[in-house]
């Protein structure tokens, strides 16, 4: 088991983990890596996020799309649950709201395969601490 033995250790770890996340986000691997986050807080799960996540995992594999699907916490858009964030290589991450299986299918077919946006985008309306 890795133990963090000092602050220097932790800093080193951060660098390598950031590089890993970067690699995943930028899709620098030969194939196009799509990253999808599903908001899975109580509110999201209650509105069907788990079904959507299972569907995405299954369908992306079936359709031969190389993607990483992870869970995350509440994005704050409770009125539009379930919400997912899709990050295509070389593009800004986009959040989609009201995602059910049908919408997920549309997102895979139109946005992930062809880069065509679909209805239901939720614009980012906040500043993060990284902006300051």
């Amino acid at each position: 088991m890795i133990k963090v033995k000092s602050l220097a250790d932790l800093k080193k770890m951060r660098e390598s983990l950031q590089a890993k996340v970067d690699l995943r986000e930028k899709g620098e691997a030969a194939e196009n890596l799509v990253q999808i986050k599903v908001a899975m807080a109580t509110c999201g799960i209650a509105s069907g996020a788990k079904v959507v996540m299972d569907y995405l995992l299954e369908e992306l594999e079936k359709r031969g799309i190389n993607a990483v699907v992870t869970q995350t916490g509440c994005m704050g858009y409770c009125y539009a649950e379930p919400t997912i964030e899709v990050k295509l290589p070389d593009a800004d991450a986009i959040v989609f709201g009201y995602v059910d299986k049908k919408k997920a299918d549309e997102i895979i077919e139109k946005y992930i395969k062809n880069g065509e946006l679909v209805d239901g985008i939720i614009p980012v309306n906040y500043e993060s601490i990284d902006d300051k």
Partner: protein, 592 residues
């Protein structure tokens, strides 16, 4: 290219659907439907200047667009590549047109500090937290700062307790650090009990490590090696994620003995609450953790002197802790540059009720209620009229139209007769009866009173009974005075925060909606049409065509009349269920 048309409720009300249609038609007419797509989005949080149309990839942000602007947008922008100047947003400060929305951060009224990782990282993977500077603040504190220096940073940042009280966090830590003992405790209060509040749950579900890291920092500052999270058992997912996070932190050596080789020991355990509202009060919380009844005791002694197991204990709320790591990393000056003079930083609010964008938001202190409700919140549902917003839960009060422009901070809300509370905001529209609202909260406090002191146990029950009589049309004008007097007695004499604040919903509705109370007791009418006992359903003989739909659907056969002739409701039998009102296709049923 993509044309994003705002499909938020606010923009829809001002014809954004027809803008989208027009744009699509215009593109098709120019044979450009394959080049540029029209997409409807969720709310941009900028309803004041809606409808919004954003063009990608150049990020052009058009405001107050009308359907008739569609041809110009397509001809100029899409075909010729020239922006439509007159529709660009004008920066009010610089009086300049903004071409690229990446440069209009100022319109984004939200700023996420406590929620910085919620919705970004996988809460069950510590690596993602570390990649986003996780545990760096703990490392910095342990290796570069001594406890007092760290406390000074927190003091200087101006951070105040986010659980409701607003006590300066740094001072709380300092008091606990000065009390000498062989063992001290850091407690995280995750007993979120206000109806309609879910900030703490969301933080624990989305970013549990930030709370763990901050608790360890607090432990270092006050000299505690043990931390406890008091969390309600009704939050199973938050508990599960917190457990996973604690185990991962232990595996990485970020909790346990000799953290990062500095000799500092700290570990965290969980304690479950059974969902009693009073256990959010720190002394009651501590008793509950000790296995005793969840009842408050007099302060002093404060928990910082004699808390859990009689040892000095520092209790902070989840959101307070979530703010700590960024303050350590970015500095006290950075944090205190955000917010108002006496309330620094940001506050997370849970928006609920009759508002379009129900959700979790984080805004700088000093923002106005108007901005929160009408911009970020997207305004009132179904185009109804705003009536009041309840802040502070059962301990808070209702704020009205006239309070919409005061800057939100701890002191201003108290001055306006409400309080910050933990951050629930319940928005009410014209259909909500304020007497019923006060009754709802009293019902809650009566249920949740621990029963230890008489003002709370008996007084609140009497308050509830008075309100109940008023909503049934049995109240008198004297009852209104009685309500007010009893409220003040309870506030002055109750033992703990629960009783001292429970009459607030009554007092603030009496102050702001006295006419509505008078309507109930004098005219025996409920202006909002909510109090059943005060309503009467009648059929307008002019409008009734005698279709018999109402009579057939009445569950108690209170409606009589011949086919094709006006019907009548017998008020002695009518149970006011409203079934006839729903079924009538001719608007012949009136509520009076």
């Amino acid at each position: 290219m993509h044309l994003l048309v705002c499909g938020g409720t606010g923009c829809r009300a001002s014809a954004s659907d027809s803008i989208a249609e027009k744009l699509k038609a215009e593109l098709a007419a120019n044979n450009l439907q394959d080049e540029a797509q029209v997409i409807q989005t969720g709310c941009f949080g900028f309803c004041e200047k809606g409808p919004i149309v954003k063009v990608l990839p150049d990020n052009t942000f058009y405001t107050q667009v009308k359907p008739e602007d569609a041809p110009e947008i397509v001809k100029e922008h899409i075909i010729k590549g020239r922006k439509v100047e007159r529709l660009l947003y004008v920066d009010p400060a610089k009086k300049q047109k903004v071409e690229d929305s990446k440069h209009m951060g100022f319109y984004r009224k939200q700023m996420r500090i406590a929620l910085r990782n919620c919705g970004f990282i996988n809460p069950e993977n510590i690596d993602e937290y570390i990649a986003r500077d996780g545990y760096q603040a703990l490392g910095k504190v342990l290796t570069e700062l001594d406890p007092q220096q760290t406390i000074d940073i927190i003091k200087k940042s101006g951070l105040r307790g986010r659980g409701g009280g607003g006590f300066p966090t740094g001072i709380k830590w300092e008091i606990a650090s000065k009390n000498k003992a062989d063992q001290k405790y850091v407690v995280c209060n995750a007993d979120e009990g206000d109806p309609g509040a879910f900030m703490d749950r969301s933080i624990l579900e989305g970013d549990p490590h930030s709370v763990i890291e901050a608790m360890a920092i607090c432990g270092y500052c006050i000299g505690a090696s043990k931390g406890l999270v008091y969390i309600r058992a009704e939050y199973p997912l938050a508990i599960q994620r917190l457990r996973i996070a604690i185990n991962q932190a232990r595996e990485y050596g970020l909790l346990g003995n000799d953290i990062m080789g500095t000799g500092f020991n700290f570990d965290i355990n969980l304690r479950y609450g059974a969902g009693a509202f009073v256990c959010g009060e720190e002394t009651a919380l501590i008793h509950s953790m000790e296995g005793l009844r969840g009842e408050p005791t007099n302060k002093p002694p404060f928990p910082a002197e004699r808390g859990y197991m009689g040892k000095p204990t520092n209790v902070n709320n989840v959101e307070t802790f979530a703010n700590v790591p960024p303050i350590i990393l970015k500095g006290a000056d950075w944090y205190s540059s955000i917010g108002t003079e006496k309330s620094k930083g940001t506050k997370v609010f849970a928006l609920a009720g009759k508002i379009n964008n129900v959700g979790l938001i984080e805004v700088p202190m000093g923002i106005t209620l108007r901005e929160v409700i009408f911009e970020i919140g997207g305004g009132i549902k179904n185009g109804k009229k705003f009536k009041a917003v309840q802040t502070g839960g059962p301990s808070g009060g209702c704020l009205t139209e006239k309070h919409l422009d005061i800057p939100i901070d701890f002191d201003n809300l108290i001055a306006a007769g409400s309080m910050m509370g933990s951050g629930g905001m319940i928005v009410m529209d014209e259909d909500d009866c304020m007497v019923s609202v006060a009754k709802f909260y009293l019902d809650f406090t009566v249920e949740e009173s621990c029963g230890k002191c008489s003002p709370c146990r008996i007084g609140n029950k009497r308050l509830y009974e008075l309100l109940d009589r008023i909503t049934k049309g049995e109240g008198t004008l004297e009852d209104l005075d009685r309500l007010r007097n009893l409220s003040h007695v309870i506030k002055d004499t109750a033992l703990c925060g629960l009783g001292q604040t429970s009459p607030n919903p009554v007092l603030s509705t009496l102050d702001n909606f006295y006419d509505e109370y008078v309507a109930h007791v004098v005219d025996k009418k409920c202006p909002a049409g909510q109090c059943k006992s005060l309503l009467r359903y009648v059929i307008d003989p002019e409008a009734c065509v005698g279709c018999t739909a109402c009579a057939r659907n009445c569950p108690v056969n209170a409606i009589s009349g011949e086919r094709k002739k006006p019907h009548e409701i017998n008020p002695d039998i009518c149970i006011k269920c409203g079934a006839c009102y729903e079924k009538c296709k001719f608007d012949a049923i009136r509520i009076i």
